[in-house]
């Protein structure tokens, strides 16, 4: 039986075009009506260290990553070594023929601690020292090995193009691997060619060169590999319009929709892509026929980024800044100022492996408590956590409504996995998205009246004006202040101001719609419930399906509004459950702790991961099953992925 859902992986040294290969591959699959989920892993390095891209492709929606690889396109020996054991029986490995004799322990980019691991594997599996030995061992597991003489193919291509120096076209190895992959998968080569051309559309001759490389490799593989490779990709006819986008892009588009018109940033992984995308798409069309534009400012540091965003917000622009852990650390004082001055500030916070510089290009969810408590003193804030790309889009837009309505900083808490994954979706229909600027007074409203920026009100929300409004000269200060915004150290005024600010959180609790606070999936009447937040969602949802088919009953509560935590609703959902399983990408189970603090109910099982790699469906499912069958420790720590 042919296998129609596959997990394709491309890997090679950074700078060798792994991302481009994945992009072309994903596009080609998209053209054929297939769903794609992609995940990108890379070192904090520009050239030479290992990077790889997973693409899961299926006729049905795919939303997470799995362990098993069906076809591995290795640009170099390192990729083959690192991922060989992920390739399933009946799967295939495409390698460079010239790498076969490479001694695996001599790959120069392997660090000593990894070499130890290799030695251990060699001993355990009784493996020889060359890549060929490793591949032969894989063949015993029924893995197909497809050695491709990349250099010969490049020579042929070079001749045709009249380019004698092969070094000028070695970059095209990535496209060669795509040609070979699609030939093996018997996929429509026209779609592959279309994807190549679209990818290099703006590069003139390069597009043609790459198309030639693709076809040369496709022909070579078709003629050479007559093996019975069971995996197939078959195009489907679909009428629906779809998008293939990354988390970064979804957030950027969401911001545009939500009216963000000033974005500040200081370059940092994995946040900077979002700002660069925004700058590239600075001018936008509107239904009024009048274009609008977002100003993107690269500031001198994150301190300037957060504070200039606050300044822009006070002047009436919807404003945001985007960063990850190290940058947010620098923003903390500014956050406190914004909380005190009731600034509608939006901070997009992509967590990555931490502490310190940590794993700068890797994933983690270790900053929840930091986002929640950052800043000296007590002030209200909102923390939204999106669990998939579509939520990223709408939450990014909604963040501005919340920020302006409740006049407080909103932290949109994401992570590296979310930022760098890509997924196919039906085109987003955002026609119902409304802009709510909260209580915003104009010059007219204030004619003949005295304006007090921080007027005490029932809800704690004081009607706002933007700087520059006539009849409304007003003041802000980071000091405690009176209603006018002047410094005040009077104890009773202080008490009222603290209460006024904090009270706004009650309003948030009351007004945010239920499904935007918590989302429930699976069998919520079950005695077992998963709690989680952010990017593990995909792996959890796929696991729920798999476990259901195996007869397990399990529910899932995704927390979307993490702060203020919808305490009562969470309590209701967790009360009386036998197993509460907390799934998070951190060591200290931060959400679990927060839930316990707020509700008195603690999870009794934990599935945690802190290797810097996101969870896969395979490992989540396995851990959950172990828990449900009483075979698990209270704490399951996941480690899959290189």
């Amino acid at each position: 039986m042919p296998i129609d859902s596959i997990n394709w992986m491309a890997g090679g040294p950074q700078g060798s075009g792994v991302d481009t290969a994945a992009n072309i591959f994903g596009k080609a699959c998209g053209y054929g009506g297939l769903y794609v989920f992609g995940r990108r892993e890379y070192h904090s390095n520009i050239k030479g260290l290992h990077s790889y891209f997973h693409l899961r492709i299926s006729p049905k929606q795919v939303i997470a990553n799995i362990n098993d690889v069906n076809l591995l396109a290795a640009f170099d020996a390192e990729t083959a070594v690192r991922h060989i054991n992920e390739v399933v029986p009946e799967g295939g490995i495409i390698v460079d023929a010239k790498d076969m004799d490479t001694k695996v322990l001599e790959v120069p980019t392997f660090p000593p601690e990894y070499k130890e691991e290799i030695k251990r594997i060699m001993q355990e599996q009784n493996l020889g020292e060359t890549l060929n030995d490793w591949l032969n061992h894989a063949k015993q597991r029924n893995v197909h090995v497809f050695p491709v003489p990349y250099m010969n193919l490049l020579n042929q291509i070079g001749e045709k193009l009249g380019i004698p120096q092969i070094s000028k076209i070695t970059r095209m190895i990535n496209v060669l691997t795509i040609g070979v992959s699609f030939a093996l998968l018997k996929y429509d080569r026209n779609l592959a060619e279309k994807a190549v051309k679209a990818t290099f559309a703006e590069k003139g001759k390069i597009a043609e060169m790459n198309a030639l490389a693709l076809n040369t490799a496709y022909d070579y593989a078709e003629q050479t590999f007559k093996t019975d490779f069971k995996h197939r990709l078959t195009k489907l006819d679909v009428n629906e319009e779809r998008l293939f986008l990354t988390g970064n892009q979804a957030v950027a588009m969401g911001k545009v929709l939500g009216g963000c018109r000033v974005q500040t940033y200081y370059p940092i992984t994995p946040a900077a892509d979002e700002s660069e995308y925004l700058e590239a798409h600075q001018i936008m069309k509107t239904s009024t026929g009048e274009d609008e534009a977002i100003v993107v400012i690269q500031t001198e540091d994150e301190i300037a980024a957060v504070n200039s965003a606050s300044g822009a917000a006070l002047a009436g622009a919807r404003a945001a800044t985007s960063t990850s852990g190290p940058g947010f650390s620098l923003m903390v004082e500014g956050l406190s100022w914004a909380g005190n001055s009731e600034v509608p500030l939006v901070i997009t916070y992509y967590q990555r492996g931490a502490p310190a510089t940590g794993l700068p290009t890797r994933h983690g969810q270790g900053d929840l408590r930091f986002a929640m408590h950052a800043g000296h003193g007590e002030f209200p804030r909102i923390i939204l956590a999106s669990g998939d790309i579509e939520e990223c889009f709408y939450d990014a837009a909604k963040a501005f409504n919340l920020a302006e309505k409740y006049q407080m900083p909103v932290i949109h808490l994401l992570d590296k996995a979310m930022a760098n994954c890509s997924q196919t979706y039906p085109v987003f229909d955002y026609s119902n998205f409304k802009i709510d600027r909260g209580e915003l007074l104009t010059e007219k409203d204030l004619e003949g009246k005295e304006y007090r920026r921080f007027r005490f009100t029932e809800t704690g929300i004081s009607p706002r004006v933007v700087l520059g409004t006539k009849n409304a000269v007003h003041w802000y200060t980071g000091d405690e202040h009176n209603e006018l915004g002047h410094i005040s150290e009077e104890p009773l005024n202080r008490r009222r101001m603290v209460e006024k600010r904090m009270k706004k959180l009650e309003q948030v609790q009351k007004e945010v719609p239920a499904e935007e606070k918590l989302k429930f999936y699976g069998d919520t009447d079950s005695e077992n419930i998963i709690v989680s937040w952010g990017s593990p969602k995909g792996a959890i949802l796929e696991s729920l399906d798999m476990l259901k088919q195996e007869g397990f009953s399990l529910g899932f509560m995704q927390v979307r509004l993490i702060h203020p935590l919808p305490t009562e609703e969470v309590k209701k959902a967790l009360q009386g459950k036998k197993r509460i399983i907390d799934v998070e990408d951190n060591y200290t189970a931060q959400l679990g702790g927060i839930i316990k603090e707020a509700t008195g109910i603690a999870p009794n099982y934990y599935v945690l991961k802190y290797t810097g790699r996101p969870m896969t469906t395979t490992e989540v499912c396995k851990a959950l099953k172990a828990i449900l069958t009483g075979k698990a420790a209270e704490r399951e720590v996941l480690t899959f992925g290189s």
């Binding site: 596009k27 053209y31 779809r242 998008l243 892009q249 588009m253 545009v256 939500g258 009216g259 018109r261 000033v262 798409h281 001018i283 069309k285 509107t286 239904s287 009048e290 274009d291 609008e292 534009a293 100003v295 400012i297 301190i303 980024a305 504070n307 200039s308 965003a309 606050s310 300044g311 822009a312 006070l314 002047a315 622009a317 919807r318 404003a319 500014g334 100022w337 196919t424 085109v427 955002y430 119902n432 998205f433 409304k434 802009i435 709510d436 600027r437 700087l467 520059g468 006539k470 009849n471 409304a472 000269v473 007003h474 003041w475 802000y476 200060t477 980071g478 000091d479 002047h486 410094i487």
Partner: protein, 321 residues
């Protein structure tokens, strides 16, 4: 609109500087300059950092944003970029702008936003009780210092000029007329204007005092004090870059003047160049309608509240077909 300095008073706020503090003079200078320029209070935004100087906006009737220590420039930038119609005046102490905020000081020069930045240069950290500020010279020991200053001073005017400020001037808190005129020129300047305002702190700085600036310690034969301050404009010094070819030489001349200190201290305009495009002009090159519809003035929604943005171009690029 005819305005008087008194229109810019804030009677409900008690200005809590020490008696004799130079900050009063700066407050008066600001109120007079705003009145003479006929700037309506609601169109002005005074942004300040933290320090005694940071309280300036609470004592002037216009919008005030009293921010964080060292961060006056980033806030000011955000405000100005969002709405370039606003008259933005950034205020700060010497510690604020040249110590903790020095990174912003330099980088603001690279942008050349059309706004004004006034540093209250009193040689000390007033509000934290008199520690050395970045403008205090090596070896001086002001009143509250346990030991003489171990750091050399930064040259504020020089730093402004090489950082790209297109207007650099110095004035004196007790020559309110000169200060008022300098503030007016700074506001009218197209581009980022910096004023190094010498500001006696009678409480902690017992070295560069009002008497010292006035030269009370060096009277001439008739008993008249010989002021240490002299006005550049009275010496025929021409700070203006009329043509790019003059720029280097004008910058060098400004730097040269900025080195003078001690018995002769220049005040007035050191450097002025309106040829350099402002940040707003640079933005307009990218966004043709930036002036008419800056970030703060965009509509965002239609009459029913729906977002007016049309994302089809964005989505077009991401479509799989």
């Amino acid at each position: 609109m005819v305005l008087k300095p008194s229109d810019f008073r804030v009677p409900e706020v008690f200005a809590d500087w020490c008696p004799g503090c130079g900050d009063f003079g700066i407050m008066n200078g600001l109120q007079m300059a705003f009145a003479e320029l006929g700037l309506e209070p609601h169109r002005i935004v005074m942004v300040s950092g933290i320090g005694c100087s940071g309280k300036e906006p609470h004592n002037v009737k216009c919008n005030g944003v009293h921010t964080l220590h060292g961060r006056t420039l980033p806030f000011a930038m955000g405000i100005k970029v969002a709405n370039p119609e606003l008259e933005v005046i950034a205020i700060g102490g010497d510690g604020d702008g040249l110590g903790i905020g020095a990174g912003h000081f330099v980088n603001a020069g690279r942008r050349n936003l059309d706004m004004t930045y006034i540093i209250h240069n009193n040689g000390v950290y007033g509000l934290t009780k008199g520690q050395a500020s970045p403008t205090l010279r090596l070896g001086l020991q002001t009143k509250a210092l346990p030991k003489p200053n171990i750091n050399e001073a930064v040259n504020a005017i020089g730093l402004a000029v090489i950082s790209g400020y297109t207007f650099a001037a110095r004035s004196y808190a007790y020559d309110v007329r000169h200060l008022k005129d300098t503030i007016k020129q700074a506001i009218q300047h197209k581009g980022l204007a910096f004023i190094d305002c010498l500001q006696p702190c009678p409480t902690y700085n017992n070295i560069t005092t009002k008497d010292w600036y006035a030269g009370e310690d060096r009277k001439d034969a008739s008993g008249k004090p010989q002021s240490r301050l002299y006005k550049l404009e009275e010496t025929g010094f021409d700070p203006v870059v009329h043509d790019w070819s003059e720029d280097f030489q004008k910058k060098m001349a400004a730097m040269d003047k900025a080195r003078e200190w001690g018995d002769r201290i220049p005040i007035g305009v050191f450097y002025k160049n309106e040829l350099e495009p402002t940040f707003e002009e640079r933005l307009k090159d990218r966004i043709p309608f930036y002036r008419e519809r800056p970030p703060a003035k965009q509509k965002l929604k239609d009459q029913n509240g729906f977002s007016t943005v049309d994302l089809s171009e964005f989505m077009g690029e991401l479509k799989t077909s």
